[in-house]
Subunit: 231 residues, 2 copies
DNA sequence: ATTGCCACGTGAAACATATCACAAGCTCCC
DNA sequence: GGGAGCTTGTGATATGTTTCACGTGGCAAT
């Protein structure tokens, strides 16, 4: 659709597109029909030039002098990201986090749905959460192949993660979103993204420390905090 | 500590340090005493040169011809990241995700602890999860100030996120880890990290689509998957 | 029509990050 | 002591990403 993939888009551009998409959806609900790169960038914490560049990787969707038509741009971004194809997903591990993922309503809203869930704990197998029946681990392969599932969410303990990953890959899964705090090894045709809470928290810890060291102190009502930080 | 901050470390370097840290901890548990950049990079999915460069932003912690002493390197990385200072954290929003965060044992293991939890739902207020009593939202400010809390985890619905953020900032919080799918606005002295499931899933959706388009097909037992993808 | 203004799309420049390749330093062994 | 073999730390280089700045096309009003 629409000619020219002018070079390859950086990872971060894709992630920003995701944010643009969400913002456009919200704007549409509010009845906004048109938006400029300037305005969209303000809403997503980006810059106007960045918004235009990110979109330019995939085509040209606006009108000069006017801006972007919200609905049309949303549709284009949706196609770029491949949302709305209703990718079915499998969830492995129905503990605290897994349950939260099953309940997360952001997925269905964006066209992704957890249609199968698996757990190794016999007490959880057979339970039903949000219309999904928890199956035992040994049914992973047949279920995933039968339902042509290509995306899986991995919410198992760190020690089990690599083993389960290999089962999933063998079953034909192409995309894996890993929540376990480990570095997974996957073959090159399998795509991997990770959500790692420790990394995020430790990153914040680092920047906190750094900003304190740089003496970005005096800020008004921070004296308590600063006392806590320095001694 | 130890002279020379040779330039500023990129964000990604910090995140990798986090992975090195975790890997070093695991190695230490296994009784490994020494490791080379080559080996460490293999365990973390990085490259040897990258490991050395990441560390070089903060000093020189190895011995040429030998490698790194696991325990000592772990300690250095710990200090760099500011782990182990026992930062107390507050959790806002004790729904499915919030409960999962309270139960997440990766935090205490890395020296971070959720010591306060808040929720707007009166049915949840007063309940105790993992030794933490859920308090009502209107106690956020006094509690956070009294306990000198500087980091907060935000697990509230998207619509409430910005409002709660402002309360937290007013209370003196310096770091915020946001799980709500919104772009938060914070003043410059407040650091923000986000975990956004939709963005991760949509990114995978994009690379999946891209890899299929590029015809990275023939892989063996993928015919089912491919049929699902193309038809 | 013409003028004035606006906002996109995009080459080119600036900046940031990752990789390469090698000198420096350590250990071991002869 | 000296040479062989290893691995770090780091200039130099290559690659990748963001920002700048402006040409282009489009709308509105006079």
């Amino acid at each position: 659709m629409s000619g020219s993939p002018r070079g390859k888009a950086p990872q971060m551009a894709i992630r920003r597109l995701s944010m643009y998409y969400r913002t456009l959806a919200a704007l549409r609900e509010q009845g906004v029909e048109s938006i400029s790169s300037e305005h969209l960038s303000a809403l997503t914490g980006s810059t106007a030039a960045q918004v235009r560049r990110d979109l330019a990787y995939f085509g040209s969707f606006g009108r000069r002098g006017v801006g972007y038509e919200v609905h049309s741009l949303q549709t284009h971004v949706q196609k770029i990201l491949g949302i709305g194809e209703g990718w079915p997903m499998a969830l492995i591990g129905v503990g605290n986090l897994g349950s939260a993922l099953l309940a997360y309503d952001g997925f269905p809203r964006q066209g992704f749905r957890i249609v199968e869930a698996f757990d190794s704990d016999p007490r959880r197998v057979g339970t039903v959460i949000r219309d999904v029946v928890v199956k035992p681990m040994d049914q992973i392969k047949e279920t995933i192949q039968a339902r042509h599932i290509v995306m899986a969410l991995l919410a198992v303990p760190a020690k089990a993660a690599q083993g389960v990953t290999e089962q999933l890959v063998a079953a034909g899964v192409r995309c894996l979103l890993n929540f376990a705090p480990v570095t997974l090894k996957v073959p090159p045709h399998v795509h991997l993204a990770s959500v790692d809470l420790s990394i995020e928290v430790e990153y914040l810890s680092y920047v906190l420390r750094e900003s304190v060291a740089e003496g970005q102190a005096a800020e008004g009502a921070c004296s308590d905090v600063l006392r806590a930080l320095s001694g």
